[in-house]
């Protein structure tokens, strides 16, 4: 095996590219760029959309590790023991604990004139939070779409998740009740068990995390007094770890100490709703399918470009063979041209992707109703797609070149 045909192929390819029509070259490179972006970005947006939801779930709700009460228990047993251990671990960076109770908010009772008039109500989990700690953990104070966040000394004030208001979640089904007229500044009745309290809606939270947007928030000490809780056992503890710490490591410490007997201890991945994982996988599959269509289009484009190029140069291909140039050298020249188009096209694509698109979308996430979408791309994933695109173009360029080069030399020279 000699390198001479490769050398000659390269020699010919460079000179052909140099003298090719500028507009044709730009057009082909553009097609390759779009194909590359199609291959990477559609998948990246679809996966990024879910990745946005996953990240939000982690940053705003679970933390790296979430500890909650066992289903059959009213609270996390031995909360103070768990907190002691966590506070003593150097890997732990932040904690936020919550008390939870089921309840409903009711509004419209003031305008009710007859007993038969119906008031509107919405049910949800009422979370008693430490406003400062919770805000440090999730930045929830910045997620207010109306009104303002809770202060530690707020008395008889609540925040509502956006899903509890028809205004923000316009769904009206028998199964889901929400408030249609109440808003920030309204007085509503809070029913927890047999206790009822009149409270003021101070603000509306929209986090795009389903669990949070269905909650009612109030200051923890108040919730405790309403439900008559005099111990300090929590229902939820979200734990944020120092960067690089494996959540499993901390979980295992807690498990070793036997705390899993009285509480559910989950890493953020374990706590992730299964549908998120399923949708992420489905979207990735969908993205790859759409990308594959683009790949087929690109390979057909390259095939046609090389085919037309080779057929219009049939005479010269004949002359090359006639004066003794190896067929393989001529085929290599077309392979090099295909590689040139593929590399320059994807090169532009990579520049655009990492130089503009990814940083831009990271800074300005796409505002999907249920998540702040980013473009999820990995270097490995991008490299694989570049390689796939390259291989496809090489094959798509080689086949037509081979078809034309194989034709009879003399017929080609004489153009018959």
């Amino acid at each position: 095996m000699s390198f001479v045909p490769i050398r000659v192929g390269f020699f010919l390819a460079i000179r052909q590219i140099k003298h090719a029509s500028l507009w044709t070259t730009i057009l082909i490179m553009f097609v390759m760029t779009l194909t590359f972006l199609n291959l990477v970005v559609i998948n990246g947006v679809l996966v990024g959309l879910m990745q946005g939801a996953v990240t939000a779930e982690k940053n705003k709700y679970t933390g790296d590790l979430i500890i909650s009460n066992l289903n059959q228990k009213a609270y996390i047993e031995n909360t103070s023991g768990i907190l002691n251990i966590l506070n003593g671990l150097p890997q732990v960076s932040l904690l936020s604990g919550r008390y939870l109770a089921g309840g409903t908010v009711e509004s419209g009772y003031k305008t009710k004139t007859r007993d038969s008039d119906v008031t509107e109500s919405a049910g949800g989990v009422i979370a008693g939070i430490d406003p400062v700690k919770e805000n440090n953990f999730s930045g929830i104070g910045g997620l207010m779409i109306e009104g303002s966040y809770l202060a530690p000394d707020d008395y008889d004030k609540i925040l509502l998740g956006a899903d509890l208001l028809y205004k923000y979640t316009p769904i009206d089904t028998p199964g889901l009740k929400n408030l249609k007229t109440a808003g920030v500044g309204s007085l509503v009745r809070l029913h927890i068990g047999s206790t009822t309290r009149e409270v003021l809606i101070k603000g509306i939270v929209k986090s795009k995390v389903g669990e949070l947007d269905q909650r009612i928030f109030m200051v923890d000490s108040q919730l405790r007094s309403i439900i008559g809780r005099d111990d300090l056992n929590l229902n939820e503890i979200s734990v944020v770890l120092k960067p690089g710490v494996d959540p499993l490591f901390v979980k295992n410490i807690l498990v070793k100490n036997g705390f899993d007997q009285g509480a559910k201890i989950q890493t953020y991945l374990e706590a992730q709703p299964k549908f998120l994982k399923d949708i992420a996988q489905t979207f990735s599959l969908l993205g790859n399918m759409l990308g594959s269509i683009g790949l087929v289009v690109a390979s057909i484009t390259i095939f046609i470009v090389i085919f037309v190029n080779a057929i219009t140069r049939r005479k010269f291909i004949g002359i090359l063979k006639g004066i003794g140039i190896d067929s393989r050298a001529i085929e290599y020249s077309y392979i090099f041209q295909s590689i040139f188009y593929a590399l320059s096209g994807t090169g532009l694509g990579v520049l655009f992707l990492y130089g503009f698109l990814v940083p831009y979308v990271n800074a300005h996430p796409i505002n999907f109703p249920f998540s702040d979408g980013i473009i999820y791309v990995t270097v490995a994933g991008t490299s694989i797609r570049v390689i796939i695109l390259l291989i496809t173009t090489v094959v798509a360029g080689y086949i037509p070149a081979r078809i034309i080069v194989k034709r009879n030399t003399l017929d080609a020279i004489l153009g018959r």
Binding site: S2, F11, L12, H19, I319, I323, G324
Partner: protein
């Protein structure tokens, strides 16, 4: 020495058979300058393509220096053309994307020569055809006569055993034609074997020997002068 024995070429087009070369026999010594002549359609080009290994005869043998070229594989024929044969076509047949120098150097690079060596040999060949001053011109930037001289330079740069030319002057004016024919005469004086197809009696006479074809047969084979 080139020996042509019982050479037959018949074209088949479906059921139609067109016999073009009908039992051609002759031999050419090394260093001869031969003109193949005859009326249009006599089969001159067809004969040249067979001898120059661009085409396969229907039957018969072409023996060059004892090697029967009809037995060679396609790859070996390509290599043979690259190393031993040179071609000048009527329409120059230069590659439009390559400069004059690159056109001449390409077969040398294909032979495995380094680029510098190929370029220096190609430069000498261009000097030989009086085009040493325009190595960087593309074919489109040269006149017809200049292009044909580049084509001659490409055909002789690798010092081929046989130089083939099919109507090398047909597209040229009288002056350019003279330049090309004079070049051939000089090359012949230096010992180059040349087989040239032409229908111009004037140029035919300038060769050593004329083989005249008519209807696919050799009707005359004589030494000139």
């Amino acid at each position: 020495m080139i020996e042509i024995k019982n050479l037959i070429k018949t074209y088949h087009d479906g059921k139609v058979e067109t016999p073009v070369l009908k039992d051609i026999n002759f031999s050419i010594e090394d260093g001869e300058f031969v003109a193949i002549m005859g009326r249009s359609g006599a089969g001159k080009s067809t004969l040249l393509y067979q001898i120059s290994l661009l085409d396969h005869p229907s039957s018969g043998d072409i023996i060059i220096d004892g090697v029967n070229a009809t037995d060679l594989s396609s790859d070996d024929r390509t290599k043979y053309r690259l190393h031993k044969l040179g071609y000048v076509f009527q329409d120059y047949a230069l590659l439009p994307d390559l400069t004059a120098l690159e056109n001449v150097a390409l077969p040398l690079i294909m032979q495995g020569k380094t680029t510098e060596h190929a370029y220096s040999v190609a430069k000498k060949a261009l000097d030989r055809v009086n085009l040493g001053h325009r190595p960087g011109n593309l074919p489109s930037q040269l006149s017809g006569g200049e292009q044909q001289r580049v084509s001659v330079a490409r055909a002789i740069a690798h010092k081929p055993k046989i130089l083939f030319a099919d109507e090398p002057t047909a597209n040229l004016d009288t002056e350019s034609s003279r330049v090309v024919i004079d070049l051939f005469k000089e090359l012949h004086k230096e010992g180059q074997t040349i087989i040239m197809v032409t229908h111009e009696e004037e140029y035919g006479k300038m060769t050593e020997r004329t083989i005249r074809l008519s209807d696919g047969k050799v009707v005359e084979d004589r030494k000139n002068r």
